[in-house]
Symmetry: C2
Subunit: 396 residues, 2 copies
């Protein structure tokens, strides 16, 4: 990446723009941080956008800090969530973080990026400190946050503690005394609270850099719930396959935010697609790039070859797991037993969506078993296809 | 006082009434507290109302706790005040409290009333505890507090920290696990926050008892600013004199809230005053009672005699301080020098209010000096009267 892309590539907003440009122009080492709360820990390429931005600052020779919300994660951002859920223990947070760090290490170079933990300065704060921090904001300012405004309009409750989380993460900025904070667009409010606090405590003036949010493969929010994530630790085959399945209009945003493909090339891809080119070749380019980044070039080529072969053979891969059907066993039970699906309800849902087939014929009943098939067919094995990319050969 | 007056005499509200009646009927020892923040420390009979109520519970053999806001006072209730003022140090609070305790001891019997300090349980609380406490309230609930509602309507800011003070004092209830909290009407909201928290933390159900607010001698809020306070450590003469100067419609409220004069007698005073009796004799009764309470009966009688004598002589007391006027000295400078007034501006204000006279003639100019008086008059001495009760004899 070019260092002149620091403030633009994959970036949603820079606040204030003028300050950021000036700070970079001065050529001094800037102190920049990204804070994350390790509440859960399976990183996908949605998470990669901010991690990559932090690494870009490190590569441009700035002081980059990867801040672990070891204190804040124990509570978690309560905003909009169930008020009474159990807080995480420090031990759980530590465990989550170890997993998080391992995965983030695929993007961050920890020789260049410093790790810090916010329990070091947040844990010693008392009720009096909290009061002092809170005195820098009015209730009316807090209520201007989009999400709060919406809830007030809808007459939905806002917990008083929801006003405290932004103060807590905002105080990180005071302690770290930074020039810049990086975060997702959903963190803009919290980061600006930190900017105000930093000024109030007589520290540096910080600018805030929010990154674009990238959607999941199906165009909805990237989330485990929707099963539309490309995980950083996906196998080359899965990563390649999932990338080929993304919606066409995501291609160039993924390229901009999740890879180092030159901007010039991305602009040209956009142009070609507008002119009607088949998006498949660009998806393949993107898929190769991602697999190369998170595995290597060989793995990328191998995945590509395999997928080409599958397509050549009408979409059925050469090697697939085999399973024996027990006498009278339902298809859905076999799929759960073989871990092709996570649960019976998932299997039923997929059947309802016509996404399960046997030797090309769509299965329509939840109660399907293998009794109706000829012994000859079963002796040879039948191919069960589940969703777009999962296969199992069932033999007698 | 009768113990059946616990929930009524001097009381503004009991919330919930039913719970309070039931708890008292059960006849168990109740745990009852009054919390005060020793921010400043010159107690007047306005303060005495809640202190007396606490002592009444102690006298009725309940566990009475006098809670010193040793932690909360360091910040002070920020509600509606300047956000950025300096917090008190622990040392200042301790000093204030020593003074406070000495004066409160005129009402509270510390053999029966236990003293506790809230820094013991509030100081160890961290950001995480504060968050947990705050999660029991919604922003909308907080905004229903009268004073906040008013400010929202008037588009005036509410500091986020103003939401935290009620949580802090509310948590006292959780720690103390009480049956009842006593406070002024201005504390109703805070005390109800404590009631909610106590329930949320699975403790006893507390009822809240607010006491009537009594006005200063001139009918305005009793406050140092207005110079309308009857202090617990006033001399018998001052206490007696100030009481005689109160507005007529305050007499019976003072009797109910600040003395043990039987309710039956108070009802009869009310009746007589409605029927047109001269209020002076009732004020004298009240003044005698107060001086007896805070000094003794002899002091009360002596003060009464002296005042009767003053009235007999057209309002000029027999003994008064003497001062020599320096050559060309302004009256206002002399008054400041002799500590009759606190400042030149107070002297000017009193002159503007026609409250300063010399031998019965009202002084109208700020620049008055004694040069215009005859040497004979000055040799004999002239009586300068300032306000209703201050006199100085000026001689040459």
């Amino acid at each position: 990446m070019q260092s002149d892309e620091l403030l633009t590539r994959g970036v949603a907003k820079v606040i204030p723009q003028k300050l950021a440009v000036q700070k970079l122009k001065e050529g001094k080492k800037l102190r920049v941080y990204l804070g994350i709360d390790p509440t859960g820990a399976h990183l996908h390429i949605g998470h990669s956008v901010v991690l990559r931005k932090l690494q870009q600052f490190a590569d441009a020779d700035h002081d980059a800090i990867f801040l672990i919300g070891s204190f804040t994660a124990m509570m978690g951002d309560p905003t909009g969530k169930d008020l009474q859920r159990e807080p995480l223990t420090f031990e759980q947070v530590r465990k989550n973080f170890e997993l998080y760090k391992e995965q983030a290490g695929k993007i961050l170079d920890f020789n260049k990026v410093k790790i810090m933990y916010n329990h070091e300065w947040l844990k010693p704060l008392g009720f009096d400190d909290v009061t002092k921090i809170a005195s820098n904001f009015t209730v009316q300012q807090m209520e201007q946050r989009d999400m709060f405004e919406k809830r007030i309009e809808e007459d939905k409750p806002i917990g008083v503690h929801e006003f405290l989380y932004p103060l807590m993460v905002g105080y990180d900025s005071v302690h770290l005394d930074v020039d810049c904070e990086i975060g997702g667009t959903d963190q803009e409010f919290n980061m600006l609270v930190g900017r105000t606090l930093q000024k109030a405590y007589g520290k540096r003036e910080k600018f805030v850099l929010t990154n674009k949010l990238i959607e999941g493969t199906d165009g909805r929010k990237m989330s485990k719930t929707y099963d539309n994530c490309i995980y950083l630790d996906d196998t080359p085959k899965d990563m390649y396959g999932k990338t080929l399945s993304i919606k066409d209009d995501l291609i160039t945003t993924y390229m901009e935010c999740c890879t180092d493909i030159p901007l010039k090339e991305i602009t040209s891809v956009e142009k070609k697609m507008r002119e009607g080119a088949n998006p498949k070749e660009f998806k393949m380019r993107l898929a190769r790039e991602l697999v190369t980044m998170y595995h290597d070039e060989d793995a990328a080529l191998q995945a590509e070859e395999e997928f080409s072969a599958v397509f050549a053979k009408g979409g059925i891969p050469e090697d697939m797991p085999e399973a024996k059907a027990k006498k009278g066993e339902l298809l859905i039970d076999l799929l759960v037993r073989e871990k092709i699906v996570a649960s019976k309800s998932e299997a039923r849902r997929l059947i309802d969506q016509n996404a399960v087939s046997i030797d090309g014929k769509i299965v329509t009943s939840h109660d399907f078993n293998f009794e109706g098939l000829t012994p000859e067919a079963l002796a040879k094995g039948v191919v069960v296809k589940v969703g777009k990319r999962k296969f199992v050969k069932v033999i007698s």
